[in-house]
């Protein structure tokens, strides 16, 4: 092949080899040349849409992804109570008793840290979604938790007053890098991150862990030097536990003699009942169910919000229905779907004749009608909805008119607002243009000669419409219905204003959780379910009617 080309140097035209790929004039495969030509076009297209793409990614896709992530995210329990969660994992939820002292001891340390960092109320709010009362449990506990272990502090200090000296703890626990950095800290900027001394984590694991938290909290929350602050009672509690657990103190460790002496003395210390302390803060700590909830929700990710959205709950025994009086979301979802369907159907019924008129009137009248159809678009949504409030209320225009005509009695006025009727009426009005416009654009493309042909073939007006015109307008109905249904299913303002309690949608509940109850996880889960429902309808529509048949114009 190359020989052939070389052989006829004069012939620079396309060389084709019947067995090989098609070649372009310069000898490269035609496919490669085509791709190269197309790549340039693609790059340019990408360049043109880049600003919009970046804008959408930053302001739309990312926040939505973030929001949806919240529907399964549950790191707050594990982050706030790391020690408790670790120890609690071994607890058998089926046991008839509450967890043992090890769990309470861990809880004392975790709660100390959380209280100092003011995280305990957030955790309380989070767990309160699952069982009411937990919020106050954590708040009450936070008020007294700093006293837990005080008995040990006193006994250590009585043994050797040096235990009261912050410097003792610094000597034992602080690492050289932090010591150096802290010595030169001049009071500006963030304090150096506290580092433990090498090997201390193996010798006194509990104490090292809580002391590091103590040093961090003192530095970040209080902006103080740990070398000048007396440790929490929880640190003494941990130290007691470490020593009692048989810590082996190396001889070259700082204050090894003090520690050895304390280890000997600790054997005869008066012990403190941590459990009793907690029960004295709130007797719910002795409730097995509280512990079961904490253990159930201790995983970093949870299906709890989604289950909640479906009126279910995660219990240690598995998934179960919520109590009858707490079930709202399934009803709301069903109501949202039914009302959106009703709105879509009434939009079709009202919009179809208008669309037909628009498509068939002479252009001057059609333009006027089109302006009337579009007029609502140019009016604020809030104004239109408020107008419906004026029209529909008990003493409103419509009721007054009906009473005046005598259709309804004055003492028996129709309830048209603050219920589903009000929502359906006003949302049909508001969403009607979204049905009319696609209908119109499809009907505009159906030549009048089809109807004439049908009639000339012997069809009555109705048969001609139903067998010939209507099937061709179905893509318009489809497009309008998808548009109206999807808009309706996520509508918020109108149901909020005219819906009362019986006419609100799921989106109103989502808004409530976002702005009032601040249960964002549940709001995210409800939103995710709504999104899935919409996508599901879209998919079903595509399967049944075909998205290709949807025409929004032309």
């Amino acid at each position: 092949m190359t020989d052939a080309t070389h052989g006829s140097a004069a012939d620079k035209s396309v060389t084709t080899d019947p067995s090989g790929p098609m070649l372009a004039a310069d000898g490269t495969p035609l496919k490669t040349s085509l791709n190269r030509a197309l790549r340039k076009q693609k790059r340019r297209a990408l360049f043109l849409i880049a600003p919009l793409l970046v804008f959408i990614l930053v302001t739309f896709i990312y926040p939505i992804g973030e929001m949806l992530f919240r529907s399964v995210e549950n790191q707050i329990v594990g982050d706030t109570l790391p020690r408790t969660v670790r120890v609690l994992a071994d607890w058998d939820t089926e046991a008839s008793d509450i967890p043992g002292p090890a769990v309470f001891s861990a809880l004392a340390k975790d709660m100390m840290v959380a209280t100092e960092e003011k995280n305990h109320t957030r955790l309380g709010s989070r767990l309160n979604y699952e069982a009411s009362g937990l919020s106050s449990l954590f708040r009450k506990t936070g008020r007294g938790v700093d006293d837990v272990g005080e008995g040990y502090t006193e006994q250590f200090v009585a043994l050797d007053p040096a235990w009261e000296d912050p410097q003792t703890f610094i000597d034992i626990f602080a690492g050289p890098r932090w010591l150096d950095a802290n010595a030169v800290y001049d009071g500006t900027g963030p304090r150096p991150t506290f580092r433990l001394a090498a090997g201390i984590g193996e010798v006194l694991p509990q104490t090292a862990s809580i002391y590091r938290d103590f040093a961090r909290v003192v530095q970040t929350e209080d902006d103080d030097n740990p070398a000048e602050e007396e440790p929490w009672n929880a640190v003494y509690l941990a130290l007691y536990e470490d020593l009692q657990a048989g810590a082996v103190i190396p001889a070259d460790m700082a204050h090894a003699d003090m520690l050895n002496a304390a280890q000997v003395a600790a054997a005869s210390f008066t012990t403190t009942d941590v459990l009793a302390d907690f029960v004295s803060f709130d007797k719910d700590w002795a409730d097995r169910d509280v512990w079961r909830i904490i253990q159930t929700y201790s995983a970093p990710y949870t299906t709890g919000y989604f289950l909640n959205s479906a009126d279910l709950q995660l219990t240690p025994d598995g998934v179960a229905w919520r109590p009858e009086n707490e079930r709202v979301y399934v009803t709301l979802f069903i109501r949202t779907l039914i009302m959106s369907t009703a709105i879509t159907v009434s939009c079709i019924l009202l919009g179809y004749p208008i669309g037909w008129l628009l498509a068939n009137l002479p252009s001057r009248q059609a333009n006027l009608l089109m302006i009337l159809v579009l007029l609502p678009f140019w009016t604020s949504l809030l104004v239109r909805t408020s107008a419906w409030k004026v029209l529909l209320q008990d003493q409103g225009v419509i009721n007054d008119l009906l009473v005046w005509i005598g259709v309804v009695a004055d003492d028996n006025r129709l309830a048209l607002i603050n219920n589903a009727t009000g929502t359906i009426i006003s949302m049909t009005h508001i969403l009607l243009p979204f049905m009319i416009l696609p209908l119109y654009s499809v009907m505009k493309t159906i030549p009048p000669s089809y109807l004439r042909a049908a009639k000339s073939l012997g069809a009555t007006n109705w048969t001609a419409f139903w067998r010939v015109y209507f099937p061709q307008s179905v893509p318009g109905i489809g497009a309008g219905s998808i548009l109206v249904f999807i808009l309706a299913i996520g509508y918020y303002i109108t149901p909020e204003i005219v819906g009362g309690t019986k006419g609100v949608f799921i989106s109103n509940r989502i808004a409530y959780h976002i702005s009032t109850s601040l249960n964002w996880g549940l709001a995210a889960a409800l939103g995710a379910i709504l999104l899935v429902i919409v996508l599901g309808f879209y998919w079903a529509y595509d399967r049944i009617v075909g998205i290709d048949n949807v025409k929004l114009g032309g």
Partner: protein, 364 residues
């Protein structure tokens, strides 16, 4: 207009106005016997389509009667008239297959499935489209679609079929084939056809009679040959075929010939068609192929004109020569491409003449 007993379709003083100010159709009288192929020919806006729509029932006559088989149909809705119709854009229902399209008129007439199937197949075979029954209209070419539209208009065996420029969207060759097929089918089935077109060739080749429309009136209603050779007025002469027009004043009338003095001063012989007295202005019409360049073939007293050859066009079967005659420079003559034919050279001056009967003095 006298009512003829064999009139199948009859327009009786029909008028139509859309806006109440202008008449689109002015006093239309037309009578068609059964089995006739009549074409309504005219420029757009001449009222021919309106007439068709009134006949089909999609427009109502403002005044006058339309009768079908002796019965007035003004108040009968379109679907009860039983008139087949073929549209310019075919109007095949896109959501139905070819067979379903054809079965539609049978279904609305509540025929049994077997009869439907049988009639559909027969109609499809009639237009040689038997193998296309399962296709959708969009999968067919323009010519195929028009065949289906024709079959659909015929499948319920109407006695009258209306065709509204059915071949307007097709290319020339296909149009000629289908013209032939449509006329054949019409004669074979013995149906009455009203055909609307603005293509005069189509009108001349297909019809038994042609009604030339202009400005809401029928200008002439006649068989194609009469229409071509004996146009009744200058509009028809201009509209049908190619035509040379010379303007002048009637100088003398003697029986069935007259002498016209042209504006340029020359004098010619003509047949007086709608001139009646000396001194009247007239337009004289001569067909290009009736002009004789060999004046020896004309009679001894024939008037001749001097003509300057401007352009000679070789068209294969004929020669087309443009001349300057009596002051106008778009006088065209056509000569047959035969071995003894002289090819005129541009720039030369020749004598031309014609038989008096080929030259018609029409309205001015």
């Amino acid at each position: 207009m006298a009512q003829s007993d064999d009139a199948f379709v009859e327009f009786d003083h029909v008028q139509k106005s859309y806006d109440g100010e202008n008449l689109v159709v002015k006093d239309l009288n037309l009578s068609m016997p059964k089995g006739e192929f009549l074409t309504m020919l005219g420029p757009s806006g001449s009222g021919k389509t309106t007439c068709l729509m009134m006949l089909a029932g999609f427009e109502t006559a403002t005044y006058g009667d339309i009768r079908l088989d002796g019965k007035p149909i003004n108040d009968i809705p379109p679907h009860k008239r039983g008139i087949g119709m073929v549209f310019q854009n075919y109007a095949l229902f896109p959501h139905m297959t070819v067979a379903e399209n054809l079965a539609f008129p049978l279904q609305v007439r509540k025929m049994s499935k077997d009869v439907q199937k049988q009639k559909v197949m027969r109609a499809l075979d009639m237009v040689q489209m038997g193998s296309f029954a399962g296709r959708r209209p969009t999968q067919l070419s323009g010519g195929q679609q028009q065949r289906i539209a024709l079959a659909r208009a015929l499948v319920f065996e109407p006695e009258l079929v209306l065709m509204d420029e059915p071949l307007g969207a097709l290319d020339k060759q296909l149009r000629e084939t289908l013209q032939f097929e449509i006329t054949n089918l019409a004669h074979q089935l013995g149906i009455t056809v009203v055909y609307v077109t603005h293509d005069q060739t189509e009108a001349l080749t297909m019809s038994d009679r042609v009604a030339v429309f202009e400005n809401g009136r029928i200008q002439q209603l006649a068989a194609p040959a009469t229409l071509y050779e004996e146009p009744q007025n200058s509009f028809v002469a201009q509209f049908i075929g190619e035509n040379n027009t010379l303007e002048g004043v009637v100088a003398e009338i003697k029986g069935d010939t007259c002498v016209v003095k042209l504006d340029s001063g020359e004098v010619i012989d003509a047949v007086p068609v709608n001139v009646s007295k000396v001194g009247e202005r007239t337009k004289v019409s001569i067909r290009p192929e009736r002009v004789e360049v060999d004046t020896a073939k004309l009679g001894p007293n024939a008037h001749t004109l001097k003509a300057e050859v401007l352009e000679f066009i070789y068209m294969g079967d004929i020669f087309r020569t443009r001349l300057k005659v009596a002051g106008i420079d778009n006088f065209v003559i056509k000569t047959r491409n035969s071995p003894d034919q002289t090819k005129l050279t541009p720039g030369t001056t020749i004598d031309i003449g014609w038989l008096p009967r080929d030259c018609r003095a029409l309205d001015a």
